[in-house]
Subunit: 213 residues, 2 copies
DNA sequence: CCGCATCCCATGTGATACTG
DNA sequence: CAGTATCACATGGGATGCGG
């Protein structure tokens, strides 16, 4: 459990000692979306062994990145203020990895929390500021995401509800965000299926959430 | 050698599959300073086992992060354009880890490349833009760094040479950059020893290179 | 000597089972 | 549900070997 040490005294090596272990930043990513219970974290990281999750949570707690907090009878894990300062790191790394995504493999899943952070990564406030407030409903297999864009801010929450445009998103949705797939082609190929609302609102969505190379 | 997979399809998990292995980002950090030979990388990462270094270099090459390039008879490793896009990530992670640095342990070393990136992390262009061009010479044990600040840009190179202010930096130099140690106290405590130039130029240095909390 | 490859052992990881 | 225990295995660490 002793944080494995790189033998160097510097900002990056210290950071990697704290959050550089396998799975650690993925846990942080999910907690950036909101506090989560142990079981919710395990569900959001389907392939993490439960003992590793337990170990990481203890390490990250010792590092001051997260804390266990009682929340109406149950215990949740939540980021400390210091842990929340990892948000720019997670967004920057996510943006970088986005461009190497390639094609999704069958075994790979898209969890609501990972999609939430990918949306935050791709969000362009300068663009959004010039658009009217819009609500999108994205269906992601079992889960639903509600995406509210208002001014230069975005809020992504879990659940279903009324939206200006509701659509299901397949794995290819990332190609839409990357600009590799035009909205019309996304609709034509079935990557996106509109459930309700005007189809051309998908263009506004793609314009608002776009990861420039 | 098969990149260990997180079973998720998202920007962050992809990034961690490419550069999330142990030592990988430290290699990238050193290559952000400039192309390096195998032996130079090994010297800059004193505790990396040589087989791990060889393995990482191959993995990072396969990931498109770096390439082997012949450079006047010898082979050097250099970042690809895609690899260079990791600079914001390295700077952000470095800034985050900086605030958890604590006190240096005896076994911990400060390498020229790690100090170079820490200086880039702490550099404040807005501040520098209002100051006259200045050259600093930082002595770091065996090695010397030449730091040129001009306009809103900084350039750090290895070596010795004339400078407006030359000084030796002990491990506590990071506390100066973090703003925990005032320049006068750094001089009084011997963390910094001026070799040449007016002592009060250290104030300008600390103002230019400062990591706000 | 530099640039790795090989070997061996300690440790971390992963899958599963199990307990309060 | 929220973890802990166990064990096989992969990876990391350190020393050493070796060809160009």
């Amino acid at each position: 459990m002793a944080a494995r040490d790189y033998g160097q005294f510097g900002g990056l090596s210290r950071a990697l000692e704290l959050v550089g272990e396998r799975w650690a930043l993925l846990i942080v990513r999910d907690l950036l979306v909101g506090p989560r219970r142990y079981g919710e974290l395990a569900a959001g990281l389907p392939r993490i062994p439960t003992n590793i999750l337990a170990t990481r949570l203890k390490e990250l707690q010792a590092a001051g990145v997260l804390r266990r907090a009682p929340h109406s009878r149950v215990i949740v894990y939540e980021l400390t203020p210091y842990g929340r300062e990892l948000e720019p790191v997670v967004l920057a790394l996510g943006a970088w990895g986005f461009h190497a995504l390639g094609d999704p493999r069958d075994e790979q899943v898209i969890t609501p929390d990972s999609m939430t952070m990918d949306l935050r990564t791709a969000f362009r406030p300068e663009i959004a500021a010039g658009l009217p407030p819009t609500g999108y409903g994205m269906r992601l297999g079992e889960a639903g995401l509600l995406i509210r864009v208002e001014g230069d801010a975005v809020a992504v929450t879990r659940g279903d509800g009324p939206a200006d445009l509701s659509f299901t998103a397949g794995p290819g949705i990332h190609r839409l965000l990357a600009g590799e797939l035009a909205p019309e082609r996304a609709l034509a190929s079935g990557v996106v299926e509109v459930l309700s609302g005007p189809r051309d609102l998908l263009g506004r969505f793609a314009h608002t959430f776009h990861l420039a190379a």
